[in-house]
C-alpha cells in the first residue's frame, strides 16, 4: 500500500506539475466562465443600442404591392394566388419585419425566388384557398418559421371570417379560445424531458474523460517503457502497484479537472442565471440519486478502461504505435457512447437494459436508466457489483499483462498474445 501511494503521489505530481495540464485546466475554466457570461454581454450591448429596427410603413387595408415603401431594411416576400381574403394590415401584425410583393403568377414568383442571392424576394406564398397555401423558399434555414407564421395568419383570418359570417364578437370568441388553463404537475416518477439534457451531457463527459485520460495513462506507461525508466520501476516495486498507482492518479486528476471546470461553469452560471432565463437550472437540480449513480458507475467505468489502457500501453515500445494498439478499446468506447446516446429516448428498451449490465457499457447505460427510466434498486446493485468485480479483475489482468509485456521491446505485442501468455 505504501508503494502504491508513492506511485500515486509521484504520478499526481507528474500530472499537476505538467504545464499542459495547468494551462488546459485554466483555459477550460476561463472558457466555461466566458461562455456563461455571453448572454450578459449580449444583453449589455443590446440595451446600449437603439431599438429603432422596426420601421412602420404606410399600410392600406387591401393587399397591394407594398414594396414601394421599402427602404431596404425589410425582408421582401412574394405572394400570389387567391388573395381575396388577405388583408395587409393583419398580415403586418404577423410579419412586422417584412414587405410583400404581389406576383401575377406562381411561375413568376418561383422564378424570382430561384435567383437566390439576386432575387427580390427571399421567399413567397401561393395562397390556394383560405385553408391552403404553398411556401416557396430558395434555401431553407434550420430556424425558418415563416411557414408557421403564415399558417397562423391564415388561421386567424379564418376565425375572423367565421365570426363575421356568424355575427360573433371576435374579442369574445378569442377570449374563449385563448382562455388560460391553470395546470399543476406533480411528477411521481421521473421527468424524462428535463432529465434528458443533463443525462446527455453526463454521458458525453464520462466518454471524454475515459478517452482523454485513458490515453494519457497508456502514454505514461509507454513513455516509461520508451525511456527505460520502467526497468528501474519494475525492479523496485510490484507491477500491480505501478499500474494501480498510475490508474488512480489518472482518475483523481480527471475528477479534479472535470470538477474544477464544472464548478467554474456552475458558479459562473449562478452569476448569470437571469440572463440565461434559467435555461440551465436543471444542472443545479440534478437529483442526488442520479449524481451518486453517475459517480459510482462513472468511476467504475473509468477504472475499468483505465486499467485496460494501462495494459495496452505496456504492449508497445514506441508512443507512435499506441494509437494502433488502443484502437479496439477506443472503438468499444465509441460504440457504447453512440448506443447510449441513441437510446436515451428509450431508456426502458431492451438494448439499453442489456447494456446496463455489461461492465463495458454499464458505466453510462445504467445511470441513464436511473436518470430517465424505471429501474429497481437490485438491478443497480447487481450492475454495480458486476462492474466493480470486472474492475478488480481487469486491474489484476492488466497488472499481469503490464508485468509480462513491459520489458519486451521491439514490435508491438498483440493483446490476444499477451492474454495467451498469461495462461501459461
Amino acid at each position: 500500500m505504501k508503494k502504491l501511494l508513492a506511485v500515486l503521489r509521484f504520478e499526481l505530481d507528474n500530472y499537476f506539475k505538467a504545464k499542459t495540464f495547468i494551462v488546459s485546466t485554466v483555459i477550460l475554466c476561463l472558457l466555461s466562465v466566458g461562455i456563461m457570461f455571453i448572454p450578459r454581454v449580449i444583453d449589455t450591448f443590446k440595451s446600449d443600442g437603439n431599438d429603432n429596427n422596426v420601421i412602420e410603413g404606410e399600410v392600406t387595408g387591401d393587399i397591394t404591392d407594398d414594396t414601394s415603401s421599402d427602404n431596404g431594411d425589410y425582408t421582401i416576400y412574394g405572394i400570389c394566388g387567391d388573395l381575396d381574403d388577405i388583408n395587409l394590415d393583419d398580415l403586418r401584425q404577423y410579419f412586422s419585419w417584412a414587405r410583400f410583393q404581389v406576383f401575377d403568377s406562381v411561375q413568376d414568383m418561383k422564378a424570382d425566388i430561384a435567383l437566390g442571392d439576386e432575387a427580390t424576394c427571399e421567399a413567397g406564398f401561393e395562397v390556394i384557398s383560405p385553408e391552403e397555401f404553398t411556401y416557396y423558399v430558395y434555401n431553407k434555414s434550420m430556424y425558418d418559421d415563416v411557414e408557421y407564421t403564415f399558417s397562423n395568419y391564415l388561421l386567424m383570418q379564418g376565425k375572423l371570417k367565421y365570426c363575421v359570417e356568424n355575427g360573433l364578437d371576435m374579442e369574445e370568441f378569442m377570449s374563449v379560445e385563448t382562455r388560460q388553463i391553470s395546470a399543476n404537475e406533480e411528477i411521481l416518477g421521473k421527468d424524462s424531458a428535463s432529465n434528458y439534457w443533463y443525462c446527455y451531457m453526463l454521458v458525453i463527459i464520462i466518454f471524454m474523460l475515459i478517452i482523454m485520460y485513458g490515453m494519457q495513462i497508456a502514454s505514461s506507461v509507454t513513455n516509461e517503457k520508451s525511456n527505460r525508466s520502467i526497468e528501474i520501476l519494475v525492479t523496485s516495486t510490484s507491477s500491480t502497484a505501478i499500474l494501480f498507482g498510475k490508474v488512480f492518479a489518472g482518475v483523481i486528476t480527471s475528477v479534479f479537472q472535470a470538477g474544477t471546470v464544472g464548478l467554474s461553469l456552475l458558479g459562473s452560471y449562478q452569476l448569470n442565471k437571469d440572463y440565461w432565463g434559467g435555461g440551465l437550472s436543471m444542472l443545479l437540480d440534478i437529483p442526488a440519486e442520479v449524481l451518486i449513480t453517475f459517480a459510482v458507475f462513472g468511476i467504475g467505468g473509468f477504472l475499468l478502461y483505465a486499467f485496460l489502457y494501462g495494459a495496452l500501453g505496456a504492449l508497445v515500445s514506441k508512443i507512435e504505435d499506441l494509437n494502433k494498439t488502443a484502437g479496439t478499446a477506443q472503438m468499444i468506447i465509441m460504440l457504447v457512447y453512440f448506443m447510449v446516446l441513441f437510446n436515451l429516448t428509450n431508456v426502458d428498451g431492451i438494448v439499453i437494459k442489456i447494456c446496463s449490465y455489461l461492465p463495458i457499457s454499464s458505466y453510462s447505460a445504467m445511470f441513464a436508466r436511473v436518470a430517465m427510466g424505471t429501474v429497481e434498486t437490485w438491478e443497480v446493485v447487481v450492475s454495480a457489483v458486476l462492474l466493480y468485480a470486472s474492475v478488480i479483475g481487469m486491474g489484476f489482468v492488466g497488472g499481469k499483462i503490464f508485468r509480462d509485456s513491459t520489458l519486451r521491446y521491439g514490435q508491438p505485442i498483440k493483446f490476444s498474445n499477451a492474454l495467451k501468455s498469461l495462461k501459461k
Binding site: K3, A6, R228, E231, I232, T235, S236, T237, L407, R408
Partner: protein, 312 residues
C-alpha cells in the same frame, strides 16, 4: 549471504532462451556475468530479480527461495532509464520509497549517494539538463539509494570518462568490501578482471564456463607458453615454430607481443629452448602464458560459435 541460481530455464514464444543456467555468488564477492549480446544475461538478471518467472529452476538466498524486494537489490540496467523531465532528488527519493525506505531515509540516502558520486550540485536540477556522464552517476545513485544487499550492474562504465570511471571503481570496491554481493555484467573485460573473483560465461542461453577466475586462467594457461624473439618478427616466428618444431609445439595464435603455443605431449621447456637455439632464434622473452579474461572469453565463445556453425 549466498545467492544461488539453479538450473533456470526460460522460454519466450515457445523459444527456449535459457537452457538451465546455474551459478552462485557469496557476499563480499563480485561475480562477472559475461556473454555476447543476446546470450541471455539480461533474462538471467531479470529472473534473479523476479521480473520474469523461470519456467523451471530456482533462485535461492542462503538456501531458501529468494523473494526479492526492492530493498534487497539494486539494479543498474544497461539501457539507462530515469525521468528526464523530473528533478534528480525527487526521482531518487521516489525510487528509495519504492524500495521500502521511509521518505526521510530515502531523501537522506539520495543526498549521501549524490555526494559520494560527486553530483550533489545537481540535486535540484532536472535530469535532462545534466551531461551524459553525470546522468550516468545519477543512475548509479538510483541503484544504490535503497542500500541494497545485492547489486546488479549491467555495463556500469559505459559512457564514463576516466575520472568518473575511477570514482565508480572506488564505489564498486567499497560495495564489495562492505560485504554486498555484486553481479557485474560487462563487455569491458579489464573491469571484470579487476573486480570479479568468479565469472560465468553464458553463450546461447547456456553457462559454458564458470568458476574462480584464477582457476580458469590457470586452466587455460596450462601447457601454454609465450615467446618473442629479437631476430624474428612475430609472424615469422610463428611460421618457424609451425614448420620446424611441429613435434614439440602447436601454435595457438599470435598476440600483439607474443606467439602463443601449446606444448605437445611431455615436451619440456628445455626441449623447446634447445630447438630454438638450433634454429638460431634469439629469445627476447619466454615463459608460461597466463591468458587474459578477454582471451578466455574469445576462445570460449568463439569455440562455441564454431561448434554451433558446424552443427548447423
Amino acid at each position: 549471504m549466498k545467492l544461488e541460481v539453479k538450473s533456470i530455464k526460460k522460454s519466450f514464444d515457445s523459444k527456449e532462451i535459457l537452457h538451465g543456467i546455474s551459478f552462485e555468488v557469496e557476499s563480499g564477492k563480485a561475480l562477472g556475468l559475461l556473454g555476447r549480446n543476446g546470450a541471455g544475461k539480461t533474462t538471467t538478471i531479470r529472473i534473479i530479480m523476479d521480473v520474469f518467472h523461470a519456467d523451471s529452476g530456482e533462485v535461492l538466498l542462503d538456501g531458501a527461495t529468494f523473494k526479492p524486494d526492492g530493498r534487497r537489490f539494486g539494479y543498474l540496467p544497461e539501457e539507462r532509464g530515469l525521468y528526464p523531465k523530473r528533478v534528480v532528488k525527487e526521482q531518487l527519493t521516489y525510487l528509495g520509497i519504492l524500495r521500502g525506505l521511509s521518505r526521510k531515509e530515502a531523501a537522506a540516502n539520495t543526498d549521501k549517494w549524490l555526494k559520494r558520486l560527486g553530483v550533489e550540485e545537481y540535486t535540484n536540477r532536472k535530469l535532462d539538463t545534466l551531461s551524459k556522464g553525470n546522468q550516468q552517476k545519477v543512475q548509479l545513485a538510483a541503484t544504490l539509494v535503497g542500500e541494497p544487499q545485492i547489486v546488479i550492474l549491467d555495463e556500469p562504465f559505459s559512457g564514463l570518462d576516466p575520472v568518473n570511471s575511477q570514482i565508480l571503481k572506488d564505489v564498486i570496491t567499497e560495495l564489495i568490501q562492505e560485504g554486498r554481493i555484486v553481479i557485474f555484467s560487462s563487455h569491458q573485460m579489464s573491469y571484470v578482471e579487476e573486480f570479479c573473483e568468479d565469472i560465468v560465461i553464458i553463450n546461447q542461453g547456456e553457462a559454458v564456463l564458470k568458476g574462480h577466475l584464477d582457476d580458469i586462467k590457470a586452466e587455460f594457461g596450462k601447457g601454454r607458453k609465450k615467446l618473442s624473439a629479437l631476430n624474428y618478427k612475430l609472424d615469422e616466428l610463428g611460421t618457424l615454430l609451425e614448420e620446424k618444431m611441429t613435434e614439440l609445439v602447436k601454435v595457438e595464435r599470435i598476440s600483439k607481443h607474443h606467439v602463443i603455443f601449446e606444448c605437445v605431449g611431455d615436451t619440456s621447456d628445455w626441449d623447446i629452448l634447445d630447438a630454438l637455439k638450433r634454429e638460431n632464434v634469439e629469445i627476447k622473452s619466454y615463459g608460461a602464458y597466463e591468458p587474459s579474461l578477454n582471451d578466455i572469453f574469445v576462445t570460449t565463445v568463439g569455440e562455441e560459435a564454431e561448434k554451433e556453425d558446424e552443427a548447423k
